[in-house]
Chain length 480, copies 2
């Protein structure tokens, strides 16, 4: 039964239940290392425990908290575990969670400036802060012709960049008349899968995406890009977009942004820099070189929801020419018109991305920056890189293992020298153990293990334990 | 300073600060009626109060809560106020906020089944529940060839529907080769602006969107749709997509879904039903007719984040043929491969929408349904419709005002008989007063006031006070 006969949860009950949920999360933080990192349930196992029918009448909140423990937790793969080394970090933190809570509590829409001025203005402000923090160029600053916006993910940012590039290349004829199969886009063979997804969504067609070769460090071969562009121009096609990646998902490789940018500029191709994985490193002066050449970019994105202790979703997307982006995505039906918009002096973020509605996501980023300060964020980025280097040293010193790619920052790609079958057996064994979770990729012809170091509470002991478990698994596999 | 020298917020501090934030939100709920509903700050006013530089070192949490009150709140337009009648409802609730908090606390990724099986399975399950609750067809059930997914917004759902339609119409040739300006899409002149946005994003071109005339109730004229399709076929074009709207944003009109569906079927055109605004009404048997003909739809969406007490973002998107949707949006780079995906028995939701990463959004919807039960949700939907009918009666009985459109559910469109200038003056006056917030639209040649009733705590006294304020403003305007 509900507390009041109008069914709503009144503020006093919210206070009580809210504290219980906060305590549940704090308890979860404290016991997170006791769970298997990767859930070991079978497909359908969670659903089988849920009632087939929705409840006719309300249930007590206690039942929800009980089901969280009994039904949901066994089906959770613990991304916040310090023993999570899979995919990429998605590190969260106390201040970020509380920022998300505040955003949910205010529950405002930020689609237009008028629909909550603070939602828009804090976002502009914090995105300008981030330019300072990451040493990004002035052309992305809100006081220039550019600016930044929070997107859900780098996938969406890439799509928006491609759409703006498409329209710039065709002087907005595509926007009116549609694509005509003449536009070409470029990324390296190691570019994120979202580039292909964007090219397909935007109507260019996957065959109009050129995957450019990489060098022996898995970074784009800029001369191959130039040759590709020239071949397409000779064929009467219109090169419109290239992505350079700062930290590829597969191996952490950093494309030569400056060289790519110069080529892009020469051919009037839109350069998007996808720094989702590794841009955060630039908060440390000693890693700022990852942004070398970014001043040549038309757009750029970085994900505080990966490596800056800010809850997903929080992708920061910057453009040098906001007018082109806004014109590409702008819609203004009568029911959204208002005095502030008509005045032309405000930013209406609905025209900066795909959705119309938007949450107050700047709050969590603001709380994270204020809680840690630049000093605290630098401390942890440095520590993660240091741990990755330590692990790299162990791999290099072991005669059974070898590095599979350079380790510029916090992602280590390595393999057992015994071949793909052994590496697959090692990864299955360690992941099935529940002690840690890591994932794989393919580099060249090889099945490669990836160890991504960046979870909030990962310390040396966790990395050491991971290495011990991997070596033990290798020994067991070898002895079978 | 931070509590520990590693800068992180430890679980004990999170417990304490979390309670403070819960209390802040409960206090906010209690005092929400004391704020001006629409923020009255000037552009730039909030930013001017924020420090120009990000902090070098961490700040105490107290400073954040203080700034929330002093800097952020004046810039908030209070969507959760019971006196908010603007745009559309975005009603939140205690259980939804706590669901969002739990999601932030677990901070898992739901992109693949393996990345947190419970995240995927709870979502499938709750979306199946919702089919029962809204009387939606079996073809959208996960046990059929279809299924549902949570998207951020109806804009994204519309885009995904259009993309799948584009590929079905061209047998996936567009996906490979790109758009060729032959595809045509349809919606009424009253369809949501996101339809035009989607048509432009997907590369069809805005000129390939046909805006079909509406009848005197602002619902699509189905015979005009059929004539439009036939004209395009005669011109050698390929009609691929039509949107029918259940509750237009402008006036709440309900398109004749069955008639549109029969035409769409005859011409092999994808029918998407956009019930973002009004689909929730179908939880009450007496309003279920809004879904008449939905069994003819290829896709459908409804927004619990509008009218079902579930925090934004939570758009439910269903398709009858999930294979076409998944093939349209699927990417599978090596680094996302895993045993569960290869087995083919699980759903990987990353292939159901634009982004790759995804939050555990099913939690908040699950908490809302369990807290209210079907009974509680019905109670409030009925109450909102009843209040809209009451307001409608007042308008009809007043000699100075008139209805501007039928009122099928909870949105009342009305106007002062004195003309556009007077109506604009009335809306400016009431909104500037801070006592309530309502917005406008245009219907035919008229500037029309919209009163959307659906906020969580809106009761009869708020609707009565709104009417009193509107009439008082009209009297003041007339006397000037």
């Amino acid at each position: 039964m509900n507390e009041r006969n109008d069914y709503h949860m009144d503020p006093e009950t919210f206070r009580r239940r809210g504290r219980e949920v906060v305590d549940w999360i704090a308890d979860y933080m404290e016991r997170i290392e006791t769970f298997p990192v990767r859930s070991n349930v079978a497909p359908g196992e969670i659903r089988a425990r849920l009632p087939a029918e929705p409840p006719e009448t309300g249930e007590p909140f206690e039942a929800v908290l009980r089901d969280l423990d009994e039904i949901i937790l066994p089906g959770i793969t613990h991304w916040q575990s310090p023993n999570f080394f899979a995919y990429w970090p998605a590190n969260s933190s106390g201040p970020a969670v509380l920022g998300e809570l505040l955003s949910a509590g205010l529950a405002v829409q930020g689609m237009s400036w008028e629909t909550s001025p603070a939602c828009t203005e804090l976002e502009i402000h914090v995105l300008d802060w981030m330019l300072d923090m990451l040493g990004l160029p002035e052309r992305f600053h809100s006081s220039s012709a550019g600016g930044g916006v929070i997107q859900d993910t780098a996938s969406s940012a890439t799509l928006c960049a491609l759409l703006a590039a498409r329209e710039r290349a065709t002087d907005f004829v595509t926007d009116r008349k549609g694509c005509d199969r003449s536009l070409v886009a470029y990324g390296s063979t190691q570019a994120h899968s979202s580039v292909e997804k964007a090219v397909r969504i935007a109507g260019l067609g996957s065959e109009q995406l050129r995957l450019i070769d990489v060098d022996d460090q898995y970074a784009m071969d800029a001369s191959a890009l130039e040759r590709g562009i020239e071949t397409d121009l000779d064929a009467g096609l219109t090169p419109c977009f290239v992505t350079a990646t700062v930290g590829t998902t597969s191996s952490g490789a950093i494309d030569p942004v400056r060289a790519i940018g110069e080529i892009a500029k020469r051919h009037r191709v839109w350069l998007h820099v996808d720094a989702a994985m590794s841009g955060t490193a630039a908060i440390c002066p000693e890693f700022r070189s990852v942004h070398d050449g970014v001043e040549l970019a038309d757009s750029y994105c970085v994900n505080p929801h990966k490596w800056m202790f800010t809850n997903f979703d929080c992708d920061l997307f910057y453009v040098a020419d906001r007018a082109t982006l806004v014109r590409t995505l702008s819609v203004l039906p009568e029911y959204l018109r208002n005095r502030a918009t008509e005045s032309g002096v405000v930013i209406d973020y609905r025209d900066w991305h795909i959705p119309l509605g938007r949450r107050f996501r700047a709050l969590k980023l603001w709380l994270v920056i204020r809680h840690y300060g630049i000093e605290g964020l630098r401390h942890h980025v440095r520590r993660h890189v240091e741990l990755a280097r330590m692990f790299t040293g162990w791999v290099e010193a072991d005669r059974d293992f070898e590095l599979a790619a350079p380790v510029p920052l916090n992602l280590v790609c390595f393999r057992h020298r015994g071949g793909d079958t052994i590496n697959q057996a090692i990864i299955d064994r360690v992941n099935d153990s529940g002690k840690l979770f890591l994932t794989h990729t393919r580099l060249g012809d090889w099945f490669v293990l990836r160890l991504a170091i960046g979870q909030t509470h990962t310390e040396q002991r966790h990395v050491q334990a991971a290495w011990d478990a991997i070596r033990a698994a290798a020994a067991e596999v070898a002895s079978e």
